[in-house]
């Protein structure tokens, strides 16, 4: 029985079991996103003080579930699909241990459902961070543990597939850059999940009464090795996907394999140290520890991101210029396929991640500046730029690419898909910028009522703070509309999209079933050859437009960094 099919449109080879696993993981991810998106509406419409939709208990419950579904379940389910795609499809290899991969998937689903049920039952509104000594129901922690174990199995299936591909000699030379990026994500994921186990297993035992004390500060330190690193998996994953998308859309090749891989290597070394961003105003931790870790040693992971920031669009520019778009600095960008949601989604994700998410992240992760930002609504504004736009929009763009390739369906309502990245990016950008502003005015995150109703004392935020949260609310609603458009296109495509393969039936679309047997007609794909050699010429600037964009990023970065030090210097002296 042949094991592979070849996609006639893209030329990708799909292993039968890997294909099913990618489908189920991607679908489970999208379901989590659907839940997170609906809950997002509850969060934003409650924070927007004029609407103030939900009562306090329901708000905190909804906020807990929104955070976990968006930041854990959606991204990690989707990332497991990406890992299987990178290792099996891109390397043209069989998937290692599909049985284990299914077991891992089952654990992840059971864990995600269990955790959601715990939150829905109402006595686990402890936020995603579940800081001790506030206690959730035991199955809240158990669900997370099962999910983590399942994801860990997925990581090992990825590594196993790399070994298998090497043994079977399915490719020649070194791993492709995109696969190397996926490996980086996997490595970060393994550290993340191990940290999660170290802290969540005792916390679970504490919740059922076997342990009577968990130290609150120890919990914070180890939990954040899970909480922050889990978002660094996203960074490595979405940067890899950026390289993939520019490769597919433009035939772009990395400007330098060495530089891009070295940047990923810097991620492997340093990116995860940034868990310290959350511990900067905690009691008793030394400044040496804070400075070393919060700066990723010496901002070497930031250096890596700045390098990717040049080489990703730079590769695209070089490819576009070689096709004749050479006029001026930006013809290559103007003539890009702006109507293709794969491109527009990728490009907006890149810009918003870099200009907003990246810069705010470094600023608030500065040891002293964190004093004026910690736990304000600035923090969620920052990570909506990195995760909710940077990662999520990248995954959305990839989904538009995969619906025909993986699910063999034409896009449903392509006009909506075309508009979606614009609506989503616009809404989210408005929300992010105004919530950053509100955070600077001291508005708290995770807070039900800006009016402090029922408090024994009183405090009035400035009117501007209310205005900023309200405009942020409008942006957030628009962002939810953009998210809904994505879900309509995705679910619609799987249910009603035109079949590109006669055997792509309803259930084969989204229940993980592979296509009909007749489609699998390749015993063993031909070996993946090395890229065509090109002449290396390094006399001039190959991508001047990108260089100008990179300098613009740097200018914004420097100015915003300086403004924040100035703001810090104006508050009460403390020491």
């Amino acid at each position: 029985m042949a094991q592979f099919r070849v996609c006639p449109d893209s030329g990708f080879y799909f292993d039968r079991s890997a294909e099913s696993l990618m489908k189920v993981n991607a679908v489970a991810g999208v379901v989590s996103l659907l839940i997170a998106g609906i809950l997002a509406l509850g969060v934003i419409l409650t924070r927007w003080q004029d609407v103030h939709l939900l009562p306090a208990d329901l708000f905190y419950q909804v906020l807990t579930a929104h955070g976990i579904n968006a930041l854990i379940f959606w991204v990690i389910f989707f990332e497991i699909a990406v890992l299987y795609f990178a290792s099996s499809t891109l390397l043209r290899s069989r998937l290692a241990a599909p049985g284990w991969a299914w077991a891992g998937f089952a654990l992840m689903v059971i864990g995600a459902v269990m955790n959601n049920v715990a939150v829905m039952q109402g006595n686990s509104s402890v936020m995603m961070t579940s800081y001790v000594p506030m206690q959730a129901a035991p199955h809240f922690y158990l669900g997370l543990i099962l999910f983590a174990v399942g994801a860990l199995i997925g990581c090992f299936v990825f590594l196993g597939t790399l070994v298998l591909a090497k043994d079977d000699k399915t490719y020649d030379g070194s791993l492709p850059l995109v696969v190397f990026g996926a490996l980086t994500a996997t490595i970060i994921a393994i550290f993340t999940i191990a940290s999660g186990a170290i802290i969540l297993v005792p916390t679970f035992l504490w919740s059922v009464g076997y342990i009577n004390h968990i130290d609150a500060e120890m919990y914070r330190i180890i939990w954040w090795a899970l909480g922050h690193s889990s978002q660094q998996i996203n960074v490595a994953a979405h940067v890899s996907i950026w390289y993939l998308i520019t490769g597919i859309l433009f035939g772009a090749r990395p400007m330098s394999e060495k530089v891009s891989r070295f940047a990923f290597l810097l991620y492997i070394f340093f990116l995860q140290l940034a868990s310290a961003h959350h511990i900067l105003v905690d009691p008793g931790v030394s400044s040496e520890w804070k400075i070393f870790n919060t700066s990723y040693a010496m901002y070497l992971a930031v250096l890596a991101s700045m390098i990717h920031g040049l080489t990703v669009p730079g590769a695209m520019e070089v490819a576009q210029r070689s096709k004749g778009y050479t006029k001026g600095l930006f013809e290559w960008l103007r003539k890009a396929p702006w109507g293709n949601p794969v491109f527009s989604g990728f490009f907006f994700a890149l810009v918003i991640f870099g200009f907003i998410g990246g810069i705010t992240g470094v600023v608030m992760g500065t040891e002293q500046i964190n004093l004026i930002i910690h736990n304000t609504i600035y923090v969620p504004a920052h990570f909506h730029a990195t995760v909710a736009v940077g990662t999520t929009l990248t995954f959305m763009a990839l989904t538009y690419l995969l619906i025909p390739v993986l699910f063999r369906r034409a896009l449903f309502m392509p006009w909506m898909a075309k508009l979606q990245p614009y609506v989503f990016s616009l809404g989210m950008t408005i929300m992010i910028l105004f919530l950053l502003g509100a955070g600077t005015l001291g508005v708290s995150r995770r807070h039900w009522d800006m009016d402090f109703t029922g408090a024994m004392l009183s405090f009035d935020y400035p009117g501007t703070a209310y205005m900023m949260v309200a405009v942020g609310g409008i942006g957030g609603v628009l962002g939810v509309v953009g998210g809904a458009m994505f879900l309509i296109v995705t679910v619609g495509s799987l249910l009603f999209g035109k079949k590109l393969e006669p055997s792509a039936g309803l259930f084969q679309g989204f229940c993980g079933l592979p296509l009909a047997d007749s489609v699998y007609n390749v015993e063993q794909p031909p070996r993946l050859e090395r890229a065509e050699p090109v002449e290396h010429h390094h006399d001039g600037f190959e991508a001047p437009g990108t260089f100008v964009l990179a300098l613009a990023l740097l200018v914004c970065f420097v100015v915003y960094y300086a403004i924040n030090w100035d703001y810090l210097s104006s508050v009460w002296p403390i020491g």
Partner: protein
């Protein structure tokens, strides 16, 4: 045999490339670095906080 010895010797692969081509070495580094510098050092910091009088 004689044919083999006449072939040009394959160029030695540089250290960094060999390191980047070795997923399990990278995995070790990627887990060891944050475990030592973030987690262990951080836990030590907290464990050595003196007890209030």
């Amino acid at each position: 045999m004689s044919e083999d010895t006449n072939l040009p010797k394959p160029e030695r692969i540089p250290f960094f490339q060999r390191m980047l081509d070795n997923p399990f070495l990278l995995l070790f580094i990627g887990v060891a670095m944050p475990t030592v510098f973030y987690t262990l050092w951080g836990v030590m910091e907290v464990a050595t906080i003196p007890i209030a009088k």
